[in-house]
Symmetry: none
Subunit: 305 residues, 2 copies
DNA sequence: CTCGGTATTGAAAATACCTTTCAATGGTGA
DNA sequence: TCACCATTGAAAGGTATTTTCAATACCGAG
């Protein structure tokens, strides 16, 4: 193998598209994978886009008590070629906020919140999660995943815990349009099934943390057997992505004591899965449409009895 | 008299404030006082703000067939300290223009919609569903259900098909805070378990149509054995409600060929289930909080290995 | 038509800003 | 405790921007 010197330049670049309005979401998504100083920079940027847009690298470095190098690294991690471009995006964001809507302040759910507040806050947060996810989703990656799935001989989906339910949701729907799909939440069975996959098949791993071994292992096997692999994860830098041909990023809303991460990650994952499904249904419309109405009929009879 | 060299720097500055969105107007106002080359630059800027924002001084100078100096002079005339700041304003303007354009999300998803539209429409629809659900949820009923569940000896949840996943989601979370909860999607097992229930237990049926026999039957049995029964349904007039002490209504968003009802009903059901969960977690905070952090710890270790 | 003066312009120097390198540091696991 | 790797910022190295300045175009008067 040829070893090549890689400039630090592109090493950290994770997100594909420079996000316009999805910046705050992206910061949250990538925050866990950032170093402390980078987090400080990211926080400053997310907290006051307009203010930061007015600063030079040096200024922002001073403000956050870090160095220019760190600022540039952060900009790279957020998906921009350099600080200059991050700054431009920031200016855009600032303009949007100012002209547009409210900055959306979310208070956490407290133990003594009345139930009506709980409903309002949860609904708001999940709406926010949806918006963030949609904004941060790389449509090129999604399109590629859709194409692969639509043409697949067979689709295996891996997910454990809360993600397991999302995996089942996806397969339920894919089955409805006549595709061959399986959800595996048992890691052993997942691996033994993964060895059956070959080129033209598709394997999809769903993991919020991006580091769930039980899900990575079957994806690795599928990858090595030549299947097209897709990762749906909240951590585009996670271990799972090294075996993923296509990466679909879910957004990470902040969690709190009473609102576990599983809640918003699930919302985000489901949206991605829905998009994937509709995309596949579009591509296979000829067969999908009659299959859908057939299953609809079948259920209608079941209810009527 | 002392003659001093005056830098060209501030000579041309005319406008007082850097214009945010009124840039095109400013260009027109100042055009007559501009030299020919400056007019070319101003015209380019007014014509395609987004495009120019992507260019460096040198780029814009080349594009307009002028020099960097002229570009800077034009920026100054427009009221900015230099080209850098004009460029930032341009980026902001571009972002505003773009966001102002409505994505035409009112329409249904069509077979030939590009994938980006699919994402936007789905996200929008699900957001709408959430808002509708939150607005239509009866907090009194929800509060009653929460009280019952928080005090329950045991909680059984019934759901089949897509609702089965929601049932599992709920039980997963309730288990996490130390409650005893089971999800049943097998109607036979559901009924045989329902006969075990008695006063102080809670049975929850989840059905979008409100008429799913497989779910109604176990709820009826639970009801007759004295358990407190809850129905989560999109049809508050459905058959399921006759055995329900508390009714939680989910919203019914319109469906289309490519977007089956299961999609938005699931979103709606999940919100209701989340509210129920958080409510219960609040009431049982003493035991729920340590249980939540314990399960968090357990998972963290699993990922770290 | 020619000349002197002024306005306009761009090439190139100077500067500010951004990016990269690299050595020092601090934390982590063996 | 030691060796190692990740993290960090100082400073070197490049670009982009700004300024200078000389060349040129323009204009009105003689």
């Amino acid at each position: 193998m040829v070893t090549r010197d890689v400039k630090e330049t592109f090493s950290g670049r994770v997100g594909a598209a420079p996000a316009p309005a999805a910046l705050a979401a992206k910061v949250r998504t990538l925050a866990p994978s950032m170093t402390r100083s980078m987090q400080r920079v990211a926080e400053a940027v997310a907290h006051d886009p307009a203010g930061c847009a007015a600063l030079t690298v040096t200024g922002l470095a001073e403000l956050t008590g870090t160095s220019e190098a760190t600022v540039v690294r952060t900009a790279r991690l957020l998906g921009y070629p350099g600080y200059r471009d991050l700054r431009l995006a920031l200016a855009g964001l600032a303009a949007q906020q100012q002209s547009g809507r409210a900055p959306a302040i979310t208070t956490d759910i407290a133990v003594d919140d009345p139930i009506a507040d709980v409903v309002a806050k949860l609904a708001y947060d999940e709406q926010q999660t949806l918006a963030d996810t949609a904004a941060g989703l790389d449509t090129a990656q999604l399109g590629a995943a859709v194409s692969a799935a639509a043409a697949a001989r067979r689709i295996d989906v891996y997910g454990v815990g809360a993600s397991g339910l999302v995996a089942q949701d996806l397969t339920q729907k894919l089955l409805r349009i006549g595709l061959i799909a399986h959800a595996h939440s048992d890691p052993h069975l997942a691996v033994t099934n993964a060895v059956q996959l070959r080129a033209g098949d598709v394997a999809i791993a769903i993991t919020h943390s991006g580091s769930t071994g039980d899900v990575i292992e079957p994806l690795r096997v599928a990858f090595e057997h030549g299947a097209t692999t897709v990762a749906i994860t909240g951590r585009p830098d996670g271990a799972v992505t090294q075996y993923a041909d296509h990466i679909l990023t879910t957004s990470t809303a902040r969690e709190s004591e009473l609102r576990p991460a599983a809640m918003s990650s699930r919302t985000s994952q489901l949206l991605v899965v829905d998009c994937l499904f509709v995309g596949v249904a579009q591509r296979t419309y000829e067969t999908a449409a009659p299959a859908l109405s057939a299953s609809y009929e079948a259920l209608a009879h079941r209810h009527r009895r």
